[in-house]
C-alpha cells in the first residue's frame, strides 16, 4: 500500500510562486529565481527611517542610478546563497593551497628582492583598499532597490573582506608567520606620500552618500587596480622569475573576472533602462570621467614606485589601462570626458 501511495502521480497545482509566475508564466522556476524575485518589500512601508526621514526604508531614491523594474536585471551567475558560498569555498581553498605551497617551499624567501618589495610595498597596502570596498559594497547592499541588485552587492561585500583576508594571509606568510609586513604596509597606507592620492580618493568615496555613485567610483578604480596589479604585473612577474607573485595574483584576477560578469550586466541594465536609461548614462559618465581622472593621478606615484622596483613599465601601463577602461565604458554607451 505504502509503495503504491508513493508512486501515484499527483499533479501539482502550480509550478512556482505567484510573483515568479507573474513574470515568467507558470513554469518551473530555478532556485535563484524563487530566492530572488520580489523578495524585498516594495509597498506600504510602516515608518520613516529615523536616519533618513525624507525617504522610505527601501527606496529607489538612495541613488541617482535607477531601474524602472529592478528585476529587469538578474545576476548572470544566478548566485543565490548556496552557489555563492560554494564558489567562494573553492576560491579560498585554492588560495589556501597556494599559500601553503609557497610556505612549504620557502618561496617567499626565494622571491627576488624587488618582487618582495612589490608585495610588501604595493600589494599589501591594498588590504585597506579592500576593507573600504567591503563597506562601499555593503552600502549598496542595504540602500539599493530590488533583491536582484542588492544580493550581488551583499556577496561582493563579503568578497572584499575575503580579498582583504587573502592579502593579509599573504602578508603573514611573507612575514614568516608574523604580522610585521602588515604593520609596515599599514604605515605606508597612512603616511607614505605614494599612497595618499588613493587613500584620499577612497575616503571621499566612503563619504559619498549616493550608493550608486560610490560603487561605480569603486568599480572604476577596481578596473584599473586589478588590471595593473594582478594582470599586468602578473605577466611581468612570470617573465622575470617571480612565479610566486603570479601564484598569488591569479586568485585575485580570477575573482575579478567573476566580479565583471555581474557588474557589466548591471551597467548594461542601467544604460538600457526604458525610463531612467538616459539619466543613468549621464550620471555614469560624470562619475566615470571624474574617477578616471582621479585614479590616473592617484595611482601615478604607486606605478612610479613599481617601476622603481621592477622593470614593469607600470607608468605606461597605467595610462594604457585608463584608456582601456574609457573604451570599455564607451562600449557600454557611457562616454567620458578626458580631463584637460
Amino acid at each position: 500500500m505504502q509503495i503504491e501511495l508513493r508512486t501515484q502521480v499527483i499533479e501539482p497545482r502550480r509550478k512556482t510562486f505567484t510573483h515568479v509566475s507573474n513574470r515568467y508564466g507558470d513554469r518551473p522556476a530555478s532556485r535563484y529565481e524563487e530566492g530572488t524575485i520580489d523578495l524585498q518589500g516594495s509597498e506600504h512601508f510602516q515608518y520613516k527611517p529615523l536616519w533618513a526621514p525624507d525617504k522610505e526604508i527601501y527606496s529607489p531614491d538612495f541613488s541617482e542610478l535607477k531601474l524602472a523594474d529592478p528585476y529587469s536585471y538578474m545576476d548572470p551567475r544566478q548566485y543565490y546563497y548556496t552557489p555563492y558560498v560554494s564558489a567562494r569555498a573553492d576560491l579560498h581553498e585554492a588560495f589556501g593551497a597556494t599559500l601553503s605551497y609557497l610556505d612549504k617551499r620557502g618561496m617567499f624567501d626565494r622571491l627576488p628582492e624587488a618582487w618582495h618589495g612589490v608585495l610588501q610595498n604595493i600589494v599589501l597596502p591594498l588590504r585597506h583598499y579592500e576593507g573600504a570596498a567591503q563597506m562601499i559594497s555593503a552600502a549598496a547592499a542595504r540602500y539599493g532597490w530590488g533583491t536582484s541588485i542588492t544580493q550581488c552587492f551583499s556577496y561582493a561585500s563579503f568578497d572584499r573582506i575575503g580579498n582583504a583576508q587573502m592579502l593579509s594571509r599573504a602578508g603573514i606568510s611573507l612575514g614568516g608567520g608574523t604580522a610585521d609586513p602588515l604593520a609596515v604596509a599599514k604605515t605606508a597606507w597612512i603616511e607614505d606620500p605614494t599612497w595618499q592620492g588613493l587613500r584620499k580618493h577612497v575616503e571621499l568615496t566612503l563619504a559619498e552618500q549616493d550608493w550608486g555613485k560610490a560603487i561605480v567610483a569603486l568599480d572604476v578604480t577596481d578596473r584599473v587596480i586589478y588590471q595593473l596589479l594582478y594582470t599586468h604585473l602578473d605577466d611581468v612577474a612570470i617573465g622575470s622569475g617571480a612565479g610566486s607573485y603570479s601564484l598569488i595574483a591569479q586568485h585575485f584576477s580570477t575573482w575579478f573576472v567573476d566580479q565583471r560578469k555581474w557588474f557589466d550586466a548591471l551597467y548594461k541594465a542601467w544604460a538600457a533602462d526604458p525610463e531612467h536609461g538616459a539619466a543613468n548614462v549621464e550620471t555614469l559618465s560624470a562619475v566615470v570621467s571624474q574617477t578616471l581622472a582621479t585614479v590616473a593621478e592617484a595611482l601615478a606615484p604607486v606605478m612610479t614606485a613599481v617601476d622603481g622596483l621592477v622593470d614593469a613599465g607600470a607608468v605606461d601601463a597605467l595610462a594604457a589601462t585608463v584608456d582601456q577602461t574609457r573604451s570599455a565604458y564607451a562600449a557600454l554607451g557611457v562616454a567620458t570626458e578626458v580631463a584637460s
Binding site: F17, L39, G41, Q46, T82, V85, Q134, G162, L204
Partner: protein
C-alpha cells in the same frame, strides 16, 4: 635563560583574527570620521573605544564559506529527496501546513529584512570586528530567507496559502504584525537595531520563536523544515553571541547608554512578545500532533532561561527586566486561545485555514491549561453547535487594530480574562487605540513614529486596498480559492483525502471535527 632573538613571533589566534578584520581600519584624514560614519551618534549612544568590542566568534571568510557550503549541500539533498518521494504525503495532516504558511508569509520576508539591515551595520559600525560579524549575519539571514523559501517551495506546488507570500507580507492585515515589527527595527538606527534584532529577537526570544516551528515540524513529519532548523542552528548560535556581545558592549561603554538600552529592551520585549502571539496560537492550535503548549514553552524558554539566567546577569549593569513582563507572565494561560479565536473568525480573509479543535485536541489543551481552558472550551463547543446548525462563524466586519502591534483588539486585561483590554492616547488631537499597556507605553515614547503606521483596516476604509467590498480586498490580497477560510472541506483537505485514497485516514484522526465539517458544508 636566553631568548632566541630570531624566532618569528607567530601570531596568536586572536591577533591573527584581528589582522584579518579590525586591523583593516584606519583613521581617516581627508574627510572627517562623521562623514564616513554618519549614523553612530544620532541615537544618543556613546562609544568611547570601539576596540573594546570582543569578537564573539573568530570565523574567517575561508572557514565560513567552506562550512556553510557543506551544510547547504546536506540540506538541499534532503529537500530534493523529499520532493522526489512525494514526502509531503507523510505529514500528519495537510492542516499542519498552516503553521508553515504563517512561517513563509511572516518569517521568511523578515529573514530577508534582517539580511538587508545587517548590511547596514556592516557599513556603518565603526569597528572592523563588529562590521565583519554583522556581515556574516547579513549573509546568514539571506541564507535563512532563501532556504526557507526553497524548503517550502515544494509544498507550494501542492497546497494553498504559500503562493503569494511576498506581496501578502506587504498587504494582508495579520501580516502587518510581523511587517510592522521588523520595519520598526529597519527604520531605527544601528544601535537600536542591535538591541531590537541582534539582542531581543535573536537572543531573548529566539527559542520561543524557532523551537515551536522546528519541533512542530519534527513532530508532524516535516523533514525538510526540521532539517532546515537544524541547519540554521549553528548560524543562530553565532547570532546569539553577537547579540549578547552587543548589549554588553553598549552597557560597558558609557553609563549614559544604560537608560537608552533599557527603553529599547522594554520596547522590544513587548514588541516581540506581541509578535509571538502568532506563534503561541500556532503552537497550541495548528499542530495536528502537538508537543508542547505555549505556556510550557514560555515558562521554559523565557521565564527559566531569560528571567532567571540572563536578567540576573544584566542587573550588574543596572538593567532591570523589561517593563510589562509581569503582564506577559499573567497572560500566558490566555494569549494563545485569544489569538487563535481572532484568527479563526477572520481566516476567510487570510492565507491559512482554521478549524474548531477536535475533541481530543481540546482534551490536550485542557491538560495543559487546567485553569483557563475550560472557559475557552465552552466557546469552541458553542461554535461547534453553530457549525452543526450550518453556521460557521466568520466576522464580516473589520476589527479595530492596535496602533502599535497591529493585532485586532481582542486581548483581555492581563488580570481579568473577561474584560477586553483597550487603552487610548490622544496625540495632537487624534485618538489612538492600543491592546495593552505595553503597546501604549511604546506609542507614548515615539508618537511621531507610530502615528504613521500603515494600519490595514484604516487603509481598507480609506479605499487603498483594492476596493470597498470584501471580495475586492481579498482579490487585492492575491488570495486564491482555498487559501483561507475553514480547513474542513477546503481544497487542501479534499486533496489530502483524495491523495490518501481513503477518507478514513483523516476521519480516524479527526473524528469529531470531521463530523463538524458535514454540518458546515
Amino acid at each position: 635563560m636566553t631568548i632566541a632573538p630570531k624566532a618569528p613571533r607567530k601570531l596568536s589566534m586572536k591577533d591573527r583574527y584581528s589582522a584579518l578584520t579590525r586591523d583593516l581600519d584606519w583613521e581617516p584624514s581627508y574627510v572627517s570620521k562623521e562623514q564616513i560614519y554618519p549614523l553612530t551618534t544620532f541615537e544618543g549612544i556613546t562609544i568611547h573605544d570601539w576596540s573594546k568590542w570582543e569578537d564573539p566568534f573568530r570565523l574567517t571568510v575561508d572557514a565560513y564559506t567552506k562550512y556553510q557550503a557543506e551544510k547547504d549541500k546536506r540540506l538541499y539533498a534532503v529537500l530534493d529527496g523529499f520532493a522526489q518521494s512525494q514526502g509531503h504525503l507523510s505529514l500528519t495532516d495537510a492542516s499542519y501546513l498552516n503553521a508553515m504558511k504563517l512561517f513563509i508569509q511572516g518569517i521568511a520576508p523578515n529573514e530577508y529584512n534582517a539580511h538587508r539591515n545587517f548590511a547596514m551595520l556592516a557599513r556603518h559600525l565603526e569597528g572592523g570586528g563588529p562590521r565583519f560579524a554583522a556581515l556574516c549575519q547579513c549573509l546568514d539571514e539571506m541564507r535563512h530567507a532563501q532556504t526557507e523559501i526553497h524548503t517550502l517551495s515544494n509544498y507550494n506546488k501542492y497546497y494553498g496559502g504559500f503562493h503569494n507570500f511576498s506581496q501578502q507580507h506587504d498587504r494582508v492585515w495579520y501580516l502587518s504584525v510581523p511587517k510592522s515589527f521588523f520595519e520598526d527595527a529597519l527604520s531605527a538606527g544601528p544601535f537600536e537595531w542591535l538591541i531590537a534584532i541582534g539582542f531581543s529577537f535573536e537572543y531573548l526570544l529566539t527559542n520561543l520563536l524557532f523551537v515551536p516551528f522546528m519541533s512542530g515540524a519534527s513532530f508532524n513529519g516535516d523533514l525538510p523544515t526540521m532539517t532546515f532548523g537544524f541547519s540554521a542552528q549553528s548560524d543562530e548560535s553565532r547570532h546569539m553571541t553577537l547579540g549578547l556581545e552587543a548589549i554588553k558592549f553598549l552597557l560597558e561603554q558609557d553609563e549614559k547608554n544604560v537608560p537608552i538600552v533599557q527603553y529599547w529592551l522594554d520596547k522590544w520585549f513587548w514588541r516581540g512578545y506581541r509578535l509571538l502571539a502568532l506563534v503561541a496560537q500556532m503552537l497550541d492550535y495548528m499542530l495536528p500532533r502537538e508537543f508542547m503548549s505555549w505556556k510550557e514553552a514560555f515558562e521554559l524558554y523565557f521565564e527559566e532561561q531569560m528571567m532567571k539566567g540572563l536578567f540576573e546577569d544584566l542587573a550588574y549593569y543596572g538593567i532591570r527586566p523589561p517593563l510589562h513582563v509581569d503582564k506577559a507572565i499573567q497572560e500566558k494561560e490566555h494569549v494563545s486561545h485569544q489569538a487563535y479565536w481572532i484568527l479563526y473568525q477572520f481566516s476567510h480573509a487570510a492565507a491559512f485555514t482554521t478549524s474548531v479543535p477536535t475533541a481530543q485536541h481540546m482534551d490536550w489543551l485542557e491538560e495543559q491549561y487546567p485553569e483557563t481552558f475550560p472557559t475557552y472550551r465552552k466557546l469552541w463547543e458553542k461554535e461547534q453547535r453553530n457549525i452543526d446548525n450550518g453556521g460557521r462563524h466568520f466576522i464580516r466586519g473589520l476589527p479595530q487594530l492596535c496602533q502599535v502591534c497591529q493585532i485586532p483588539m481582542g486581548f483581555t486585561e492581563a488580570d481579568d480574562p473577561f474584560v477586553q483590554a483597550q487603552r487610548e492616547s490622544i496625540f495632537e488631537g487624534e485618538r489612538y487605540n492600543f491592546c495593552s499597556d505595553g503597546c501604549q507605553y511604546i506609542f507614548e515614547h515615539e508618537p511621531v513614529k507610530f502615528r504613521r503606521a500603515w494600519l490595514p483596516v484604516h487603509q481598507i476604509y480609506q479605499g487603498n486596498c483594492g476596493g470597498p467590498t470584501l471580495p475586492d480586498v481579498l482579490n487585492w490580497y492575491g488570495l486564491e480559492p482555498g487559501d483561507g477560510g475553514e480547513y474542513l472541506g477546503s481544497i487542501d483537505h479534499q486533496n489530502w483525502l483524495k491523495w490518501h485514497g481513503d477518507p478514513a485516514h483523516v476521519e480516524n484522526d479527526h473524528a469529531p471535527a470531521a463530523a463538524g465539517a458535514e454540518g458546515g458544508q
